[in-house]
């Protein structure tokens, strides 16, 4: 009923995360926050970062309205950020961006991205890459990093 490409974009892990929404909710005590909008569809996400005194990311929290890809992406992101240093965060964001820009050519580094490599199928759909990137751009912004487009 659905093509292999579509099944590859909407893997079970993605549809599950879109429903389970790990990290959903904004708690007090954020060390950084960002609100991002995808102007073409109106999707939005607000993402808080919670860092320890030594600068390591303890967790993120997010709220927003979006498609299953942007929602799953935020959920998957929240699973992999625990206890990361600034350098490790930068490395993971860069790896995710590279995956999104790969047009399906690379698999994604599971050591860095965990289950978020499942979003690799999105990179074949140019109209959906922004959906997957939305929470990562918010994360980058909330950390005070300059988005490398």
């Amino acid at each position: 009923m659905a093509s292999r490409e579509l099944e590859s974009m909407y893997q079970h892990v993605i549809l599950d995360h879109a429903k389970e929404k790990h990290g959903f909710g904004l708690r007090d005590g954020a060390t950084g926050s960002s609100h991002q909008i995808n102007p073409t569809c109106g999707d939005e996400v607000t993402l808080n970062v919670y860092r320890a005194a030594d600068g390591r990311v303890e967790s993120i929290g997010w709220e927003g309205q979006g498609c299953s890809i942007s929602t799953a992406s935020a959920s998957l992101l929240s699973d992999i950020v625990h206890d990361l240093t600034a350098d490790e965060v930068t490395e993971r964001i860069a790896a995710f961006r590279e995956l999104m820009q790969s047009k399906g050519a690379i698999e994604g580094d599971e050591d860095l991205l965990g289950d978020a490599v499942a979003l690799g199928g999105v990179s074949r759909y140019i109209t959906r890459i922004k959906c997957a990137m939305l929470p990562w751009v918010a994360f980058e912004d909330a950390l005070g990093l300059t988005p490398a487009r």
Binding site: M9, C41, G66, T71, Y125, C131
Partner: protein, 439 residues
Amino acid sequence: MTTDVDQTTTAATLELHDVERIRADFPILGREVNGHPLVYLDSGATSQKPQRVIDVERSYYELNNAAVHRGAHTLAGEATELFEDARATVARFVGVADDEIVWTSNATEGLNLIAYGMSNASLGRGGDAARRFRLGEGDEIVVTELEHHANLVPWQELAFRTGATLRVIGVGDDGRIRLDDAAEIIGERTRVVAFAHVSNVLGAVNPVAELVALAHGVGALVVLDACQSAPHLSLDLAALDVDFAVFSGHKMLAPTGVGVLYGRSELLNALPPFLTGGSMITTVGLTESEFLPAPMRFEAGTQRVSQAIALASAIDYLGEVGMARIAGWEAQLGERLYQGLVAIPGVRVLGPAPDAAAGVERVGLASFVVDGIHSHDVGQFLDDRGIAVRVGHHCAQPVHRRFGVTATTRVSTYLYNTPDEVDQAVAAVADSRAFFGVA
């Protein structure tokens, strides 16, 4: 170059065999998308083009290309004649005079042209003749809650620039413009009433006569956004008695880059220009200049000649098919679409139910939400079957907010769509529920 559309028939609607012949005129409808024949149901965003229109634009560059309204050589004469004939074709199509048609890049530019013309009048440009366009504190601009951003943001900005107040007529829970609200809002302070003929989200034909009567009753100008009506319905702007109207070529079988502004002659000749420069002047001094009469006073710089000529070709094509028959066909497609969608569990269609007795007329367009599935995901599922629809807010965020959603999926038809295509889209929407686990 020829269409085999039967011009002798008097039927009020196209028949399937007509539509099958029409489809053969559109090369893109023969292609496949994701392994399926293309089902193009996004004509509300932009329409496809018949071979004849594509050929006319190419032929202009192959045979006639030259600068219009300049030069004295043969090609310049031919190009100018084609360009001005195109204007006459557009004028006839909407029942107005040739000099009441201004070329723009798109409908958005047409609306900005009016707003900036009024802005310039408010700064004193245009002298006494432009007095009726002046806005200031205490004056009111009125729009509705269902407007496309193109018919909302320029008025917001005009209000900021002039100190006028922007007021908004609400949309009822039934998806119709609230005429009781309109009657309360439109009053002696109202200077402009701008609204869509057909909503690009709700799909219903709006009560133009009632709104025009309210506006003209207080001496306000009426600006009609005809983007979703001009391609699909017989449009007689003089009969509708609006003061200004805009529509865009690319939604009615023509190329991108050309739009149309209509204005009543005496208004256009009093409105100060928006864009200024070459081609719109009579005498240019070093510190001030005199402008041509309308329409050329609004056509500064090099014009979109090939697109205008191609738009005239598109209008000829539509005229040969017959706008009434197109409207009749699309009303049937729209009804089939609406009934098919509302029969799916968990699907809510925005806008009023078609109801001839209550005077609710829908075009072949429906925006809807599927409970538990974002419109992007619905659209992606349809695209996988080669079905092209629009997802998102369709440049109309306020009306989505009005109905408590950020985005919808929109199916929109045109003269080349078939009942089977509508059924395919409806079936795919139904199937998407199982795929995304909400069935």
